[in-house]
Structures are given as structure tokens and as C-alpha cells.
């Protein structure tokens, strides 16, 4: 089966859209009718057939358009991709992990031939064919991390382990929700999480760090995080706030269903073999309230979660100003019926 890729934009006229299939497989992040910040970690990959959890690196109908959007962001601000010199080996590790996984999981889209360190990579959706020498950076047009993450959906952080902490020493960040690479390169785990309210006090980060440090070479994990954004915009970085911040005020009771998007991050963790670094891919999925409410279970649950959420979290997640409008809109989908457990839609 070949995949159809959408012709769509994540800025300007915002023609981004989800097919029925994409909506049904959306990684809805709430497994119950209330939300609590937690370290909800599961093994990855693994999940129902067709879900975004099934394979290591999910490729979907937005792939080609997302890669174009990344190109635009990088052309405007090359510092969205940075790698300190000692992270090059981790970049090769990541390139290998992604190429091997994609060629295995999507043979009709990607091919990788390896003869020792002579590699031949074919990426059909993006029309790329490249012969290069593994571990030899002179044979690629840019560093290995940049090369492969220009061809992979999601943001990427590469973390270096030292002194019992993790340091974000490389990354490709063009679709971040609430953090900025320029600000975070060289920062450790606690520094770059500092703004999350409550979590520090709950000791969540100490536990999360302990967990991350113990991730072994053969194990990989995921967790979901979420926020809300107005318009299907990938690049909601602090640097470009002046471009997207004011859009929050363009929401009206008439357009909120189409303009207000739930933004879900599928965060995964991998221990890389040669560098012993941790790879932290953060994949972003977007769906508007109208599309989500088309699944009755999600409509009911989303209403309850956003209505009852702790006000500091609504503030932190950036939707407090529009919360009333959002909850009013969603209330029409909530008949008070109970919802089934788990995140997947009914039927």
C-alpha cells in the first residue's frame, strides 16, 4: 500500500488537514476524564496496528509537508539545528537508528543498502538518493544528525550523559511547543525543565532523570505530552512568538472548533550504542477540536479534562485566555455518558 501525502501548509494560509484515517489514529493523550501531570512511560514501539505507536518512527500523510516546513524554518533561522562537536558520533548513531528502522518498517518508501561502511539510502517521498560512507562526515552535505532529521518528522534532542546528569548538547528543533534550542543547548535536564509548574515539587524530574539514566541499549520508551495551540502551526517557538502569539486572539465562538488545535507530543527515548548518548525524539501531532469531537468518546472526555484542569496548568499550556470558549464549544459533545478506559476511540 502506498501512502498519500497531503499538500498543505503549517503557516500563512494554514491548509493543514487530517484525513478520517489520520483522525482515527490520532494519539489522543487522555486515558481518563481528568488530567494529572505524571511520568506516564511505556515501552516503545508497540501498540495497535495502524496506531502511531506501532513502529519506531511513525511516517504519516503529513511527512512531506512537515519536511518542507522545517526547511523554511531552518532557512530563516539556521540555529534551530545545533550540534556541539563531541556529539557527532551520537548523530551517526541516530542516523543509523532512523535509516534502519524506516527501511524495515516502510520498505515501499525507504531503502537502505549497506556494504560495510558504504551505505546507499533511498528516500522516495522526498526524492533523495544518496551514497555515503558511514562515520565519514565529508561524504554527507551536512552533519549526520542534520542530514537525517531533515528527513524525519519531529524534533530531536541528543543528550550527553556526564556527572550523573543529562546535557542537551545537540538538537534539531523546528516544531517545539514550549522550549527553544538556542536557549537550551548545553543545559542539563533540570535546567531545561525548570518552567514546568508543580512537577519539580512533586519530585517528578528526579524520578524521570533516574529513569532516563537507566535506559539501556536494548530498551526504548515513550510518553505523551500535550498542549493547545491556535492554528496548525509547527513552529511555536519563543523566538517567533510575535508571529503566532497574536493569533490566539483570532479565536471566536464560531471558529474555535476549527482553529483550536490539540497538539500532542509523542516523546520517545533511545540509548544510542556507539556514543552512549540518549536520543530524545519529540514528534508533534495536531488535530482541531471539531475533528476530535467527531469521535464521541474523545468529545466527551476532552470537555471534562479541559473544564476541570488545574488553572496553573491551563496557564502553563497557554490556553487559559480561551479556556471558557473552548469548554463552551466542547460542552455540546458531552451528554454526561460514561467513557471507556484507555486512549483509543470506540468502535
Amino acid at each position: 500500500m502506498t501512502m498519500q501525502f497531503n499538500d498543505e501548509t503549517f503557516r500563512g494560509d494554514y491548509t493543514y488537514h487530517n484525513s478520517q484515517k489520520a483522525i482515527r489514529r490520532f494519539p489522543f493523550p487522555f486515558d481518563q476524564d481528568a488530567y494529572m501531570y505524571s511520568v506516564n512511560i511505556e515501552q516503545h514501539p508497540g501498540g495497535p496496528e495502524g496506531s502511531p505507536f506501532e513502529v519506531m518512527f511513525d511516517v504519516d500523510e503529513h511527512y512531506v509537508a512537515e519536511m518542507k516546513d522545517r526547511e523554511i524554518t531552518l532557512a530563516e533561522d539556521p540555529l534551530r539545528c545545533q550540534s556541539l562537536p563531541h556529539m557527532e558520533l551520537a548523530g551517526w548513531d541516530l542516523l543509523e537508528l532512523i535509516m534502519v528502522s524506516k527501511a524495515r518498517d516502510y520498505p515501499e518508501l525507504f531503502t537502505l543498502h549497506r556494504d560495510g561502511n558504504d551505505w546507499h539510502w533511498i528516500n522516495k517521498p522526498l526524492g533523495i538518493e544518496k551514497k555515503f560512507t558511514f562515520l565519514d562526515p565529508t561524504t554527507l552535505p551536512c552533519g549526520p544528525m542534520e542530514y537525517i532529521t531533515r528527513q524525519t518528522q519531529g524534533d530531536f534532542a541528543l543528550l550527553h550523559e556526564r556527572d550523573g546528569n543529562l546535557w542537551m548538547d545537540a538538537g534539531m528543533v523546528t516544531s517545539q511547543a514550549d522550549w527553544s534550542l538556542d536557549f537550551d543547548v548545553g543545559m542539563n535536564f533540570f535546567e531545561w525543565h525548570a518552567p514546568v509548574p508543580k512537577a519539580r515539587k512533586m519530585g517528578v524530574f528526579d524520578k524521570a532523570l533516574k529513569f532516563l539514566l537507566s535506559v539501556g541499549q536494548d530498551q526504548s520508551y515513550r510518553r505523551l505530552n500535550w498542549t493547545l495551540t491556535v492554528n496548525p502551526r509547527l513552529d511555536t517557538s519563543p523566538e517567533t512568538y510575535h508571529k503566532w502569539g497574536p493569533e490566539k486572539r483570532s479565536v471566536t465562538p464560531e471558529n474555535v472548533g476549527r482553529k483550536q488545535f490539540l497538539r500532542v507530543e509523542l516523546q520517545t527515548f533511545f540509548r544510542l550504542p556507539r556514543s552512549n548518548a540518549l536520543a530524545f525524539p519529540i514528534r508533534c501531532y495536531l488535530a482541531n477540536l471539531e475533528d476530535l469531537a467527531g469521535q464521541p468518546k474523545w468529545g466527551r472526555r476532552l470537555h471534562r479534562v479541559l473544564r476541570d484542569i488545574d488553572p496553573t496548568l491551563a496557564e502553563y499550556k497557554g490556553f487559559a485566555v480561551n479556556q471558557e470558549m473552548i469548554v463552551d464549544y466542547l460542552s455540546q459533545f458531552d451528554d454526561g455518558a460514561p467513557t471507556s478506559p484507555g486512549i483509543f476511540p470506540d468502535g
Binding site: L135, R162, S214, R274, N276
Partner: protein
């Protein structure tokens, strides 16, 4: 994850040290790793499985096999004796995937590696990685005599590889090694505690930042007198035999517990002590002096107990 492998080579490197090579029975490629990584080897004996961790000494980017070097400890718990006496070429062996608690800091301008005795082992994979990465380094290997220096057979001959044999009058001079190294040099030490302390001392005296001084003091858990522990959640009493570690005894009793290094350095097995009437014999490198004195935590991979009652929060 565990890897079911075959022993394909055993070589006597010195009277006390043997080299072992493990490969996949079907020739499949094993996960590559980073310099300084170790694997945990399972040694089933009777109703218990003993597990020891050993540094990998083979080429980290070569997945065709894993190699380790094991020194026979005649007064140990029996792990090394199992490796030396029971294991033959062609035998099955189960090992863990590699993990690394002693990785190179690739930010360093130069790496100085100092290995004493069997402490040479983690450097054997690191120097291959440094060669491949074309990073400047020098290695110093100290041993008592040529006969005991098992590492000699495994080290390449090169100008930046120095062997110090005390019996031949060539004692290692740490001052001379560390003084005058370029700014941004990192030093790594593995071997007896005395050597690690001496290097740290020398580096501090020369004003090296703490973050540039690395060491690994991983030893197998020592044997000792048998003792009992009580598991708080079930009330069950577990007896730790003389030649068993507390961690091994807990595993044999099917008590769930985390571990990685099994050598008191990773912190993974740390367990809360609920009641302690007696003295914990701390043998780990994880707890601080204050934490040891408090007797509120124990590292079951290494430590033992002497007294009337020890109750663990498990």
C-alpha cells in the same frame, strides 16, 4: 534483554587471567557498543544464578563477537572460578546487552588512560574507539611483573602505550604522567582503590577540574558470613549464603529488584532499610560516608550485614 551466545574461544593470558570470546550461535551480529561498556554474564550453578559484570575488551564497533578477560579470584564468591574451571569452548552462555558506566568524555582535548592490573580491561575497548575517532590519547598500564601482566598480549605496540612493570624497576610516576598535559585533558583510572585515590590526589594537586577526572572501581561482590534479611512486603526471610551476594539471594528468592552494574557503582539496586539491628557492611562505591553511617540504605549488589535483624523495604 538477554543474549544467548556460545563460547567460541578461551585463551590463557597469564597464570590468573583468561580471555573469553562469545558469539551468536547463528553468526548474527551483536549490538555494537561504546568504549568502557560492560556486560553481565550469567553463571548458573545448582538452584542459583550468579551474575558478574565484566568490561568488554573487544572492538566496540565489531558486532561479530564480545570478548572479556576474567581474573581468577580464589577467595571470591565463585564467579570467576566458574568462568575459569567450568566453562569450555562450545558451551552456551547468557549475557546482557552492553551498558556503559565508564564512558569517555568526547569533549576532552586529550585522554589519559591509567589501568592497574586487571583494571586495564575497560581501556582495551576505549582505545579502539579513540583510535577510530582519531582522538589523541595515551595509555599507562601498571602491573607487578611481566608474567602477571595479562594485558600485554592485548595491547598494541605503539609510542603512546606505556607499560610500567614494578618488578623491572619501572614504577608508574603519576606526577610525571599528569604534569604538563594540555588544558582540557581528561584522565581515567581503573584498578585498585589505592591507584584511583592516588590519581585523583595528583590531579587535584595539579589543579585539574573534578569533571576531568574519571574512575571505575568495579569489583565483584566479596563473600562473607551468611546472614538473614526480612522482606517487609511479604514478611519472608531470605538467607544469604557465604558465597552469595545479597542481590543474588534476593533474586533466587524471586524478590523483584533492579540492578545494572552489580559492582556498587550505578546506584540502581539501592534499597531502603526499614529496621537494622546490627551493622551493614557497605562494600559499594555509591553511598556517601554519611549515608553509610545512617544505615538507612543498602546496595544489595555488594553489601552484607552482621547482626540480628535487617529488614528491607522490598
Amino acid at each position: 534483554m538477554k543474549l544467548a551466545l556460545k563460547v567460541t574461544e578461551i585463551e590463557q593470558l597469564s597464570p590468573l587471567v583468561k580471555r573469553f570470546r562469545f558469539e551468536d550461535p547463528k553468526g548474527a551480529s551483536l549490538p555494537v557498543f561504546s568504549g568502557g561498556a560492560h556486560i553481565t554474564v550469567e553463571m548458573p550453578e545448582g538452584d542459583t544464578i550468579r551474575r558478574n559484570s565484566y568490561s568488554l575488551i573487544s572492538d566496540p564497533y565489531d558486532g561479530s563477537g564480545y570478548e572479556i578477560a576474567v581474573r581468577r579470584e580464589d577467595r571470591g564468591r565463585g564467579g570467576s572460578l566458574y568462568m575459569h574451571r567450568k566453562l569450555s569452548e562450545g558451551d552456551d552462555i547468557t549475557v546482557s546487552t552492553p551498558a556503559n558506566l565508564f564512558q569517555l568524555d568526547l569533549r576532552a582535548r586529550k585522554h589519559v588512560l591509567i589501568g592497574g592490573g586487571i583494571g586495564i580491561t575497560p581501556f582495551l575497548s576505549q582505545l579502539k574507539q579513540l583510535d577510530m575517532e582519531q582522538k589523541p590519547f595515551e595509555l599507562h598500564y601498571a602491573a607487578r611483573s611481566r608474567e602477571e601482566a595479562a594485558g600485554l598480549k592485548l595491547l598494541p605496540k605503539a609510542a603512546h602505550i606505556h607499560v610500567h612493570l614494578s618488578e623491572e624497576g619501572a614504577r608508574m610516576d603519576l606526577g610525571a604522567i599528569l604534569d604538563g598535559q594540555p588544558m582540557g585533558t581528561h584522565v581515567y583510572t581503573c584498578g585498585p582503590e589505592g591507584l584511583i585515590a592516588a590519581v585523583a590526589d595528583q590531579a587535584a594537586r595539579l589543579g585539574w577540574p573534578k569533571s576531568t577526572v574519571h574512575s571505575e572501581a568495579f569489583t565483584a561482590p566479596p563473600p562473607g558470613e551468611p546472614f538473614d534479611v526480612v522482606i517487609a512486603s511479604t514478611g519472608q526471610t531470605v538467607t544469604v549464603k557465604a558465597d552469595q551476594s545479597l542481590l543474588e539471594a534476593l533474586e533466587a528468592a524471586k524478590v523483584e529488584i533492579n540492578y545494572s552494574c552489580r559492582g556498587g557503582v550505578c546506584g540502581r539496586c539501592r534499597t531502603k532499610v526499614i529496621a537494622c539491628e546490627g551493622r551493614i557492611l557497605h562494600n559499594d562505591h555509591w553511598l556517601s560516608i554519611e549515608e553509610r553511617a545512617a544505615q538507612k540504605d543498602i546496595m544489595p549488589c555488594m553489601s552484607r550485614f552482621k547482626g540480628t535483624r535487617l529488614e528491607l523495604d522490598l
